[in-house]
């Protein structure tokens, strides 16, 4: 019994010790945390050009965040290894926003006030990007959103650019493809209920109305849903011949699999959300064959810049890049191009980006930016043929690819 008692008392001591250590550990973190922030201030700024970057590298969307960061890092390393920009090395000041708007705001403040970056690329979703944009606008530091599509982002101000076309443009292009290429007669819609899905459906409906294409009332599903047999059974009975599916890879792959499971004879039409080999193609498997998507990455492109990017990414990270990575890469690519042409101060970069004309990037030829800095570039259309995205078409009609500026 005595042993047990001594052990008990010993255990109490251990408990106290652990708590003391934990508290001190937290205190120590506090101090080092502050010190490390101050630390990078002291680095010599002579030769490095700092570009800010934030993406959801942990948390629920870690896959997209990591893919965006990998592409940005790839381009920075490529540029630095080839001597940087007229002698100056590039530094990517990267932060993880965990897809949390509150953290995006403090990251934006830190980038603008403490880290002294000259430009920022957002590799995050619409939420954090919208929260950070006003801060960059106020600080007169140009920010380019890699793949966020919310229409409010470019409307924040003249220092904020949108690298992937707005949901309305992509939706309209999809309607055009459905009408011309897939000669759809009765289109069902199965869309994710968030800003991504809403803007795409809006664009699709507007264009379909112009083309006189019959479109059913949209069915909405939510982020994280995995069961689609109920709603697809409903679509099966609705006699639709094409189903427009604005969704992300996780939900999209389940929709495609259930379409096959239910023996639904329907042509699925997807969007850039599904443009990912690891997250979508591998999961959907052979059921994805025949799927047509509107996106901005043409993997079949004969353009050297596209081939180099796909090869370099696969060599460095072991798997194919996806649209999120390609768009973020282009965002940085446009910034670097602006620095080369126009100089490395925030204003020079802003003007350089705005002045970009017919610039061949990974996600197609960037014809330019409209009055509120939305990108104008053709919409790529890809089709899945035995497990690989293949060129299907390209929408270049200005009436469609020029985004609304109201």
């Amino acid at each position: 019994m005595l042993l047990k008692k001594r052990f008990k008392r010993g255990w109490q001591k251990v408990k106290k010790l652990v708590l003391v250590v934990a508290t001190l550990f937290v205190m120590a973190l506090l101090i080092t945390g502050c010190a490390s922030k101050g630390g990078n201030q002291a680095q010599t700024q002579a030769k490095t050009i700092k570009i800010g970057f934030f993406a959801p590298e942990t948390g629920s969307e870690a896959a997209d965040g990591t893919s965006a960061y990998n592409s940005a890092k790839l381009l920075i390393d490529q540029v630095n290894s080839s001597g940087g920009i007229n002698g100056a090395q590039l530094e990517l000041v990267n932060y993880d926003d965990q897809l949390d708007t509150k953290q995006a705001v403090s990251i934006a403040q830190k980038l603008t006030t403490k880290d002294g970056v000259v430009a920022v690329v957002s590799g995050s979703y619409s939420g954090p990007t919208r929260a950070a944009a006003p801060i960059f606008q106020q600080a007169k530091i140009p920010m380019i959103a890699g793949y966020a599509v919310h229409p409010d982002i470019p409307r924040t101000g003249d220092y904020i650019f949108q690298q992937s076309f707005s949901g309305v443009v992509e939706g309209a292009a999809a309607a055009q493809v459905a009408k011309d290429k897939l000669n759809a007669k009765n289109v069902a819609i199965l869309a994710i209920n968030n800003d991504f899905g809403k803007t795409l459906v809006q664009g699709f409906q507007q264009q379909a109305a112009k083309l006189g294409l019959k479109v059913q009332d949209p069915n909405w599903f939510n982020f994280g849903d995995t069961e689609f047999t109920p709603v697809l059974t409903k679509i099966k009975d609705s006699g639709a011949d094409v189903v427009f599916v604005p969704a992300y890879a996780a939900e999209g792959s389940q929709i495609i699999r259930r379409i096959h499971d239910l023996g639904l004879k329907i042509q699925p039409l997807g969007t850039e959300g599904l443009d990912s080999t690891t997250q979508f193609l591998e999961v959907a498997g052979q059921y994805a064959d025949g799927l047509v998507i509107v996106t901005n990455l043409n993997r079949d492109s004969d353009q050297q810049v596209v081939k180099d990017y796909v090869k370099a990414y696969k060599d460095k990270y072991g798997h194919d890049p996806d649209m999120v990575g390609a768009s973020t890469y282009d965002g940085l690519y446009v910034v670097i191009n602006a620095i080369k042409k126009n100089g490395a101060t925030p204003d020079q970069i802003r003007n350089g980006i705005a002045a970009t004309k017919n610039f061949q990037a990974v996600t197609g030829v960037i014809q330019g930016y409209d009055a509120i800095n939305q990108v104008i570039k053709p919409v790529q259309v890809q089709q899945v043929k035995n497990g690989v995205f293949k060129y299907f078409a390209e929408i270049t009609d200005p009436a469609i690819i020029t985004p609304p500026t109201k």
């Binding site: 942990t58 948390g59 629920s60 870690a62 896959a63 965040g65 990591t66 209920n193 009332d217 069915n219 909405w220 599903f221 939510n222 982020f223 994280g224 849903d225 995995t226 069961e227 047999t229 109920p230 709603v231 059974t233 409903k234 009975d237 890879a249 996780a250 792959s253 389940q254 699999r257 499971d261 239910l262 023996g263 690891t278 997250q279 591998e282 999961v283 959907a284 498997g285 798997h319």
Partner: protein, 290 residues
């Protein structure tokens, strides 16, 4: 259409019931709402995929998932839940389980990477089409496995010593201790079995969706709470029936109304309405309410 939705509903319900049973095994004994149980769901999927890639056999994958999860369940019970469990302060074990769930999820991301792994297992059953109603291979597997597991659980709970020990301890821990039931063994059994059930559900879902990713446990972890409470906490039969109810509800709401209400909000709405009418849940399991 109605029959197809019925099949869809029951399949969804069967999947929910496996995780719900996992939770019930744990709650029945310790009155702890173990959110980390959904961690076992994801752990099962990862072990399953790991097992499958090496052996290409589904049974081995299932075994790997079950053993791994049961072991983790036992460790959690011994190291965290038993010392932390305070009947008069239920928030403490609940927060501990939330912490464990966060740790597990991030560990999966760190170890297996944030990307989605595929689980291309060939299923024992092929697609069935009976008169317009389509039952896919994976749906059949889920239904079959769930049926087998319900039977197995019924047998274990009613026919084995440890199973009866569980039932006794679930009703009254002090009296069962007094009557010589080795509650430590029953605790280990409850957590082991509970986590194993969730692991099997995880593997079945992974095969059904051909996808394993670190955050696949998010939705189930909280939806199951609604289901388990709906079924009357600690009552295995109640958990199964409640799972079927929610599965059918989702199938018919999803199919007919085409609503955009998130499914977990749907489950919670059903729960709140029912709790207001019957504070002890649908299938009472004793004086849980005032």
């Amino acid at each position: 259409m109605f029959l197809q939705q019925l099949v869809n509903g029951i399949t969804i319900g069967s999947l929910y019931s496996l995780v719900a049973l996992g939770l019930t095994m744990v709650y029945g004994i310790m009155r702890v709402l173990d959110i980390a149980n959904a961690g076992a769901y994801v752990l099962g999927a990862y072990l399953g995929v790991w097992g499958y890639t090496h052996t290409h056999s589904l049974p081995v994958a299932l075994l790997a998932g079950v053993i791994g999860a049961a072991l983790v369940g036992y460790l959690f019970q011994r190291l965290i839940y038993t010392p932390v469990n305070r009947p008069d302060d239920p928030i403490v074990p609940l927060i501990a389980s939330i912490g464990l769930f966060i740790v597990m999820e991030d560990l999966f991301r760190l170890i297996a990477g944030p990307w989605t792994l595929t689980f291309p297992a060939r299923l024992p059953f092929q697609r069935l089409a009976l008169g317009g109603v389509i039952v896919t291979g994976s749906q059949l597997t889920i239904l079959a496995t769930a049926a087998v597991l319900f039977l197995l659980l019924w047998l274990v709970l009613n026919k084995t010593k440890i199973g009866l020990g569980w039932q006794a301890t679930a009703q009254d821990t002090e009296t069962s201790m007094a009557m010589g039931i080795n509650t430590r063994a029953v605790l280990a059994f409850a957590f082991g079995m509970g986590y194993a059930f969730s692991a099997i559900a995880g593997i079945l879902v992974a095969v059904h969706h051909n996808a394993v990713f670190p955050t696949m446990g998010d939705i189930p972890s909280y939806k199951m709470l609604a289901i388990v409470v709906l079924g009357g906490l600690g009552n295995p039969l109640g958990a199964i029936l409640a799972s079927m109810l929610i599965g059918l509800l989702e199938a018919f709401v999803g199919g007919y109304v085409g609503s955009s209400i998130p499914t977990d909000a749907l489950a919670f709405m059903a729960l709140i309405v029912i709790l207001l009418v019957r504070p002890q849940g649908l299938f009472t399991s004793g004086g849980a309410a005032k």
